[in-house]
Symmetry: C2
Subunit: 310 residues, 2 copies
Amino acid sequence: MIVTVTLNTALDITYRVQGLRPHASHRITEVTERPGGKGLNVARVLAALGHEVAVTGFAGGTTGDVVRAGLTGVHRVSDALVPVAGSTRRTIAVVDERTGDTTQLNEPGPAVSPTEWDAFQEAYEDLLTRADAVALCGSLPPGVPVGAYAGLVRAARTAGVPVLLDTSGEPLRRGLAARPDLIKPNADELAELTGSHEPLRATQAARRRGARSVVASLGPEGLLAVTPEGRWRAAPPAQVRGNPTGAGDSAVAGLLSGLVEHLPWPQRLARAVALSAATVLAPVAGEFDRAAYEELLDRGVEVTAEAGAA
Amino acid sequence: MIVTVTLNTALDITYRVQGLRPHASHRITEVTERPGGKGLNVARVLAALGHEVAVTGFAGGTTGDVVRAGLTGVHRVSDALVPVAGSTRRTIAVVDERTGDTTQLNEPGPAVSPTEWDAFQEAYEDLLTRADAVALCGSLPPGVPVGAYAGLVRAARTAGVPVLLDTSGEPLRRGLAARPDLIKPNADELAELTGSHEPLRATQAARRRGARSVVASLGPEGLLAVTPEGRWRAAPPAQVRGNPTGAGDSAVAGLLSGLVEHLPWPQRLARAVALSAATVLAPVAGEFDRAAYEELLDRGVEVTAEAGAA
């Protein structure tokens, strides 16, 4: 079983409007909603790849109920969310039908009390006893200490469970010090962490800060991996057009499934790139196109070893 | 008992952000929500004035549950909402903290089936047997026929219950033909209905289309009433600064309470203007400031008779 942690789960709501103008009133033409937060997205992709997944983190209020209800139907995903008195946040993506551009409004999330945070850590340690790997994903809700991920990384390492950390800013910086097995920053997160905008240099610098392996996601250019086993670049065959929402979460699912299946790095990276591209290509944001994934995996992803020492 | 009808109830959500920019991502600094839709706002003000109120219309889904839960604590307001399979809409007001401007995003509301519409009409006719007055408020959700208000006005007249209609566009045009006792259009609604931008002319024209009395709300200039008993203008003592959200609904509550209390027109109008101004002055959108209301009522509202035949 793989565990994904989403401390700040969300109900992701998408609104389509005909032109967004500040200070005007808009009639929404289409409303869609689904359970969200990075770890929940990762879990859905892992389940689609055939893995059993337990999702944990916090859920509360009526939006929390909607998130949990949305998980009950998902095959191979089990709900191990911990109740919180506050309300799970909503995120609103306003898609302008004229331009295709998206404006994002993100609620902060529920205030988590020290008692609730303790209850979560207990549930998490219990899950670790049965986990093959764990992914720690996304932002922290108010009340959770900024060093939270460092503690969760340490607990996973103590339990002998490989741990992937996918967050940004101070929670990433603090989490790194606890030496996670893998981080997957994007170019902006890498630059914020290391001060360098040169991908290889920044990826190496991130690794020196404590991660065993770093896989940098460079958008359309694919992935750059710096690991104890070697360095690789993996890229899709051509530029992929579509909606990049969830592409990073699909890459995390690819890396994590490859890890628990003990695939060699080049295969893990090929899978992550193919899943990521197949997510961009899917008509629904955050889903992946299985036919595109299989075709990309068969003959579309180029993985090349990088020269130099890791 | 007064009945307020809100066919398209809403969960009104207010987000505060630091500067709204299309195509950017925004962290929401404050989230507030409350049951909404014009008739629910009218009901809260009527209850605060001491009237027993039954609210009806449709409620469904988890947002409908939140709306109903938000009504349970309100003294003198009873929930007579009719269940619907679809979800009650959300409205999102995004307040830019830098400018104070509001951007509005309105979901369309649940699709109402013919069976649900029949069930509502049955519940409505039952409520009419116990009603002193009824207010029909706001937009129609998808599936409700555009001539809906005409039927509801007719049913009220058949039952001998005074009926106020507060809507706009085609539903107002159609509803007028059934001869409601009172309509309360604003300047834009009047102009859309009659083609005239001159308030007195437009108010008289609206009355000829079927309303027994027309009270036009002219924003900061107050109200203009054309009735079988005479014509009046009522205005606040000075320009009132604040948030106009809900000011029109408070005016409706003032007019309706004055009607069931058999107040003479000048007193009804003074109450409506005072409530409306006290709503603009209140710190929370849609609430009214009771001290300001009482002071305005005591000595602040000027009501003058207009010359000429009604």
